[in-house]
């Protein structure tokens, strides 16, 4: 039995898979935040390069990955697929557990799969600076890495709670030449307004998005870049699932269960969309796709499927998605990357149509699982990824009860080497099991834009 299943460099995908081509019904249109009418490419061109706008709405099943982008992806791709045999033995499960290891990229997560093409298209269209936000810092460092390769400037608005929690993520961004600002900041109107309302706010991803969008919209040389949620971002991540499918085929397997953690949805999209496509088109109809989220920010399991703003200030386009309300500021859990009020419209639609399912876990049980994984497979995963590990262990334990030898594949989206303070808190018994008081909050969702 092989521990690592490795593809040759030339087997790295040449095309992204665009699941929009295979959706049973088209996505609901994206709406303009001011007019609440469907957005036009011109509306979006203020903050995005045209090529990405085209990808956002494309119905073409496969889209070529530019050679310059593949050149950079080759620094770490194809990423290895592992068989987690020691974890299986520890759990005494008949299930076969595989994981795709995305922590091998220079910034340490799946995020550069999209930051590299995004930086590339911006550079091609003459943009010299990109503004973005980051929650836990993984996206910010991934974009800093990508922009440095293409000679672009980069400004990252980092959610204040994470800025304090993870100072080394900020240092990484500096190494790659990016400017990292704690959000809310006084650099933007949205930031100023938030600070006026509450000087001690922890900040949120939704608020940091407002700042970055405003920065891009008010500077001609600057575009905006989003690390998750949007269709083109999810599509760029499909290299993960395409490779995994190849790698599993090399050992004559096809997964029964596919698992990923969900904040904005891109890493889960990356591992699951190629298989979701197989499912929708009837090639492999019986796959279980599980999105895992924190109980503190349970968008898919407790949210409402509705149109909502993508950011706090209401500057970003309005998307049809599962949402907890754009003014919801999730508690400061350690999985900062999962603190987003909304979700990818495609993931949302697929959950709504029951192609995918969603589960939510509390912080402490998630860190328990991450510890088990580290002690069996060696890798200390990011707190975000730990959610996927927890669901994987639970599925494997189910197999133990039923005696089924299912093939479970999960996306090990990043390492936790910068998250030791979170592990520290776990060992000190200081992790708080936050939850979302869904019943009591129902009324707060009355603030959604009326459409």
């Amino acid at each position: 039995m092989k521990t690592k299943i490795i593809l040759d460099e030339e087997q790295m995908p040449k095309k992204w898979y665009n699941i929009q081509a295979d959706l049973r019904t088209p996505l609901d249109p994206v709406l303009h935040p001011k007019t609440q009418k469907p957005v036009t490419p011109d509306d979006l061109s203020v903050i995005f390069p045209m090529e990405l706008i085209k990808q956002e709405v494309s119905q073409q099943r496969f889209i070529d990955i530019p050679e310059e982008v593949r050149d950079i992806l080759r620094l770490w791709r194809p990423s290895p697929l592992y068989r987690a045999e020691r974890l299986e033995k520890f759990l005494k499960t008949p299930a076969k557990i595989y994981f795709k290891w995305e922590g091998v990229s220079p910034p340490g997560s799946h995020k550069p799969n999209t930051s590299v093409p995004q930086a590339y298209y911006n550079m091609k269209e003459g943009i010299t600076r990109i503004a973005t936000e980051t929650g836990a810092g993984q996206w910010g460092s991934a974009l800093a890495f990508a922009t440095s390769l293409f000679g672009l400037k980069c400004t990252v608005y980092m959610v204040r709670s994470s800025y304090a929690q993870k100072p080394y993520r900020k240092s990484m961004m500096q190494v790659w030449g990016a400017e990292c600002i704690p959000s809310p900041s006084v650099k933007t109107q949205s930031g100023k307004a938030a600070l006026e309302k509450d000087p001690d706010t922890t900040g949120s991803l939704g608020l940091a998005i407002s700042e970055a969008v405003e920065d891009a919209a008010t500077h001609n040389d600057t575009n905006y870049s989003l690390g998750s949620v949007l269709n083109h971002v999810c599509m760029h991540q499909t290299v993960i699932g395409i490779e995994a499918r190849e790698q599993l085929a090399m050992v004559d397997e096809y997964p029964d269960v596919i698992i990923g953690c969900v904040g904005g949805g891109s890493n889960f999209a990356g591992i699951s969309f190629p298989f979701a496509g197989d499912m929708i088109t009837g090639k492999h109809p019986n796959v279980k796709l599980i999105a895992v989220e924190p109980s503190a920010c349970p968008t898919l399991t407790k949210g409402l499927y509705a149109y909502d703003f993508g950011d706090v200030a209401g500057l970003a386009p309005i998307l049809k998605m599962y949402t907890l309300g754009h003014d919801f500021i999730p508690p400061a859990i350690h999985a900062g990357g999962l603190r987003y009020h909304g979700d990818s419209p495609i993931v949302s639609k697929l959950v709504h149509e029951r192609v995918m399912e969603a589960v939510a876990y509390h912080q402490s049980e998630v860190f328990e699982a991450a510890q088990t994984f580290a002690r069996t497979e060696g890798i200390i995963v990011a707190p975000e990824t730990a959610h996927a590990v927890k669901a994987t262990i639970d599925e494997a334990i189910k197999c133990k009860k039923t005696g089924e030898a299912k093939v479970i594949l999960f996306n090990n989206s990043g390492h936790g080497n910068f998250d030791m303070s979170a592990y520290d808190a776990f060992y000190q018994g200081k992790l708080v099991d936050y939850e979302y008081p869904a019943d009591l909050i129902k009324e707060s969702l009355a603030h959604l834009p009326k459409i």
Binding site: S161, D200, P331, K430, V432, E435, P437, L440
Partner: protein
Amino acid sequence: MHIGFLVNPIAGMGGAVGLKGTDGLIEEAKSRGAQPCSGERACQTLSLLKDSGIHLLTCSGAMGEESAINAGFIDYEVVYKYFGESTSQDTENAVKEFIQKNIDIIVFCGGDGTARDILKIVGRNVPLLGIPAGVKMYSAIFAIDPVEASNILLESSTILYHDAEVIDVDEEAYRRGELVTHLFGYARVPYVPEKIQAAKSVFESQDEDRAKEEIAAFIVELIRDDTLYILGAGTTIETIAKKIGVEKTLLGVDVLKGRTLVARDANEQILLELINKESRVKIIISPIGAQGFILGRGSQQISPNVIKKVGISNMIIVATPYKLSKTPVLYVDSGDPTVNTAFGDYTQVISGYRIAQRKRIYLPKH
């Protein structure tokens, strides 16, 4: 900093000889061979404070001066002298002297009984900190041990204050093996925000007053005109009531219909009568005491009968993150096992604006 410092010399003596409290039983305790211990504990705290620039105002002999001398504490003055055996009257008189001298905080070494005697005089006007030495310490105003007490006082530049319950335990009943407690009042108690490396806690409303405001802001959004609200005791609930626009009794159970006060300091009978007239009732309560009791300590008016009528799913439990960080589990002791177990293993506690925590429930064994 000027500290009013007093020791209850007999605190804790009853405990060691099985008396479950020393009030009114000092002779009995002595005859059973009880030795004073509070002076020594007070001395531990003072020995860590002696070079800190703190000025001590204290009482004569075993009520303070002895501990100061034994600790090598030099900067102290005796402002109250007592004669014979010290009594609760001496505690009260000493506290009055302290107040006249404008002390910043009162530090005492004793138990729940001592806390009550002091609170009677100072209320929430002067902060209190207890060095634990008593038999019963259900009040939430004690440092974990004498060393922690000194640490809190040395961190005076970063000190925050929280409202902590002083609990009145019925000693007679306690000696019979029953724990009958009443909420006696609230004291201002200093604490040092935790400085753990995960700077997270810095953001998590370590500031109690702010946390209460956030909880209140959320609860107020839920208030409906057609609903009866039974509000339990405590300062978090008081903040909610204030935000709704009603004046609430701090220690009692009050009732609102929508935003209108319909009963103050209601007893079980009144609660049952009001509930019977309504179709939609919610109970809003906060854990009480150092142990975090959500039922059965301090607000017995919210009885098993009341809870059964309202339904556990209609109980909204609220508490600040600081309070929750001090109570790893919450206790339920309503007096009715079926009500207790109906809570299940976990409960949800609202701890901020649209934020809740999951807390484990512990059922005391009877």
